[in-house]
Symmetry: C2
Subunit: 492 residues, 2 copies
């Protein structure tokens, strides 16, 4: 007889009901050919005794197996493994792949060669340089969670809980329309706004809709790397123009336009990423006029609109756009916390409609509860209060960071104090390389981060962004000290 | 003198500071050429008197304009509009497009021709037929929101609030590994799971990685339309095989394999979408063996695993996969509520790595707070309790719906009672068309929904899915009555 007692092992502590544990083990025995087609199974009474379980459990198990088509019960004869069941092929297991280490696929697929893969495991007591992120400790998390819960407790909330609009929740769209029209000089209606999961999705959607193989997109000589990757992944041709202290050199774009059709210009007009400079008034108008004349799109990524220390935020290009040329991208993640994945894409109605369609096929829809929470957060003035609060703190951090960088490290680094944003563009003296700094810094609990991403065009500017906003006073001192020790070690 | 008083209009009730209102209006006047390059602006004292505001407001405004590069202050001479500013081109405005109706783009883009666009505006007092969604009124929203708030209030939660892993939150990944290994017979580790925004994203990612132009993917003769659209959008070749009472006819897949390389098979093995049939045990093994022999991927979309009324859930193909052929896709949205956008993609480590990379470039990362909330919801057993609770209710609804359909409408419709899921596959007598039914039903406050999506291959089966789970007893009676009135009206 088949060794039922040793082949079937029950775990009485498991949450899985016994009859199901039993069924699943029977299924494995059948699949693997240990119980072959036509075999008569042991009677339920005998199996119950053997395993010391209730007979009903065995009956349920056999019923289950029968319903699933693994066995057949013939009245007065017994229960038989179904005839004609094929065996699961156990041969040719992928080399060195045990059941518990599923590393390789049994099929081929297209790996992406453009997107770099980042897997970061953070070590304790190490300072990580970032490209300008907010400080998680300053997030009004509890306040937001309280609002979330209040909204989730509303009587009719279930109406918002089903499949919703791919455009995002209507209340948030209307709230943002009013907020952006008032604060950023836009003149939009609900039809012009799509709620996204953050700026990244806005860039991705624009890239998908604007670019096919060999289409030309203009970017800065140094540019936000994630945007570059998106455009390259579409197999677009990137034309790079210089960036000076007034931002993208628009005259160079005009020259390009005269020679060939360009589809789009990607611009971080408020604070150029990565160099932090602001696009001048004259160039703004020049760029808008060119877009109109040559019918190209301007992807305006206003990634840190809210943070300006010397003046009020500058109105975006989108506020001057009277011809439907600007796709305006922004997010709340950057302002509040990356964990809250809410952003927006603003453009003509026809473009927003297409973007919503595409977005629906990637992830169906956004998170209505979170969207409603942020509609409330904006409407109540809490967002503005939060911005005012952190802006003061970030300004102090910028001033401290820049002061220390100047006082302690001016032999090695050059920089200008940024008027806004959360990062400084720091040039390393050409005598040294960031590769050297990275290796040495690691010995002093300082991680430089992906410095390579700032120079995809290989212009050898030898600069990287160093975010200051996420560190408190003590951490800024520590960062500067570690950098100082690093540079001294390299120099000697 | 320039008519400052009538050109500058201040709103003292606005949240926008007066000096900014003023600056933005000046900027518009300059852009539009109403204040031309070189013009000397009115003195701050005079303007303050004219507008009845504090002089400091005007000074701030002029400072702002100067910082932004619109004007130049020359000491002892005054403030002048900057020289050499170009004018914003106001000519050739897109036809019939006022400032407040931004419909058209000033550039061309690639509209998607595959994805249909759904914009649904729901009317009151109307029953909408869906393809099998859960009932929003049964969601444990308050419980989930309470957990969310509790997690958001944890002392070190800020560590989870920054930029996180594109694979999803580690705690949820580990929780799901344990949960799925126990309940679905999987044998996976954390490396095999990517948290997604729901099944839709899982299908999208798989489609992107597996298919390029002309690659062959096998689907059912009738199939889940959103999956079809995704594959078609990749320009893949769809080969359709028959679906009978035991699911996809795998023999037909074997025939295809002998003739050409196929890249993947998309299968809803548990309850075929749309017909609700279960893939038989024999065919499961057959399909797995073919995948191994011919090196293709099986995309197993287990969209309503949790809902079985006559037997325990059937173990997915993924539980028998010893060769890395199966990409297993599931979601919590379907089980709990569409609003909670959490799903998973399970596959070999190398495939999961690529999927995570791609996902990062679309929307960067998931929502860590929500992911932690669901890790808790699963671990505490709340998810299982929720499933047990609603399963009883859905079973009653299925029984009532099917009974009424049989008793009142058997002249018009044929169907089999589904063993699981949330929908019935309802065949309309060939004498009638769903188009007719749709038009007539609308008169009786019944919306049939997108019936066309069930027959993209044009096989003329004349059937659609009717979900039963989202309606309470009263609504089921109303739905059946409306359908009955509709059919009588058509017949007469």
């Amino acid at each position: 007889m088949f060794p039922y007692k040793t082949s079937l092992i029950l775990n009485r502590k498991s949450k899985e009901p016994l009859y199901l544990q039993l069924s699943n083990q029977f299924i494995n025995l059948i699949k693997e050919g240990k119980l072959t087609s036509g075999t008569k199974l042991i009677g339920s009474r005998s199996l119950a005794e053997l395993l010391n379980i209730h007979r009903k459990t065995v009956v349920s198990c056999y019923e289950e197996l029968s319903l699933q088509g693994w066995v057949e019960s013939i009245s007065k004869k017994g229960t038989f493994v179904h005839n004609n069941l094929p065996l699961l092929d156990q041969s040719k297991l992928i080399e060195a792949q045990s059941k518990n280490e599923k590393n390789k696929s049994g099929f081929t697929f297209y790996a992406n060669e453009i997107f770099p893969h980042k897997v970061s495991v953070k070590k304790e007591n190490t300072i990580y340089i970032n490209d300008g992120t907010s400080d998680g400790r300053l997030i009004p998390t509890e306040e937001i969670a309280r609002t979330y819960r209040r909204i989730a407790s509303k009587k009719n909330i279930y109406k918002e809980m089903g499949y919703g609009s791919t455009f995002g929740n209507d209340k948030l769209r209307l709230t943002l329309v009013e907020y952006l029209n008032t604060t950023r000089g836009l003149q939009i209606t609900k039809d012009n706004i799509l709620i996204t999961r953050g700026s990244q999705m806005g860039i991705w959607l624009s890239s998908q809709l604007l670019l096919k193989s060999k289409d030309v997109i203009v970017v800065g000589e140094t540019n936000y790397a994630s945007a570059d990757y998106n455009f390259l992944d579409q197999k677009a041709t990137l034309k790079r123009v210089a960036v000076d202290e007034n931002g993208l050199v628009i005259d160079q774009i005009e020259e390009l336009c005269k020679k060939q059709q360009i589809k789009a210009v990607y611009v971080t007009s408020h604070h150029h990423h990565p160099t932090t400079v602001t696009l001048s008034a004259e160039r703004r108008i020049h760029l808008l006029n060119l877009a109109k004349e040559y019918n190209f799109a301007i992807i305006e990524d206003d990634y840190d609109y809210d943070f300006n220390y010397n003046h009020a935020p500058i109105l975006p290009l989108a506020s001057h756009d009277n011809n439907g040329n600007v796709i305006y991208i922004g997010s709340i993640c950057k302002t509040v916390a990356p964990v809250f994945r809410i952003g927006y894409l603003i453009a003509s109605k026809e473009f927003v409609n297409e973007a919503a369609k595409l977005r629906g096929f990637v992830d169906r829809q956004g998170d209505a509860l979170l969207e409603l929470t942020f509609a409330d957060f904006i409407k109540s003035g809490d967002l503005d209060r939060h911005i005012r609060k952190v802006m003061k703190i970030y300004k102090q951090r910028r001033d401290l960071f820049c002061q220390l960088l100047k006082d302690k490290l001016s032999n090695y680094f050059e920089f200008k104090i940024p008027k806004g944003g959360m990062a400084v563009w720091v040039k390393l003296n050409k005598k040294y390389s960031w590769k050297q700094v990275e290796i040495e810094a690691r010995k002093h609990q300082l991680e430089i981060g992906e410095w390579q991403r700032y120079d995809l065009a290989n212009t050898k500017h030898n600069a990287i962004r160093i975010g200051f906003a996420s560190y408190n006073e003590e951490e800024i001192h520590k960062l500067i000290s570690a950098l100082k020790i690093t540079m001294i070690a390299i120099t000697n």
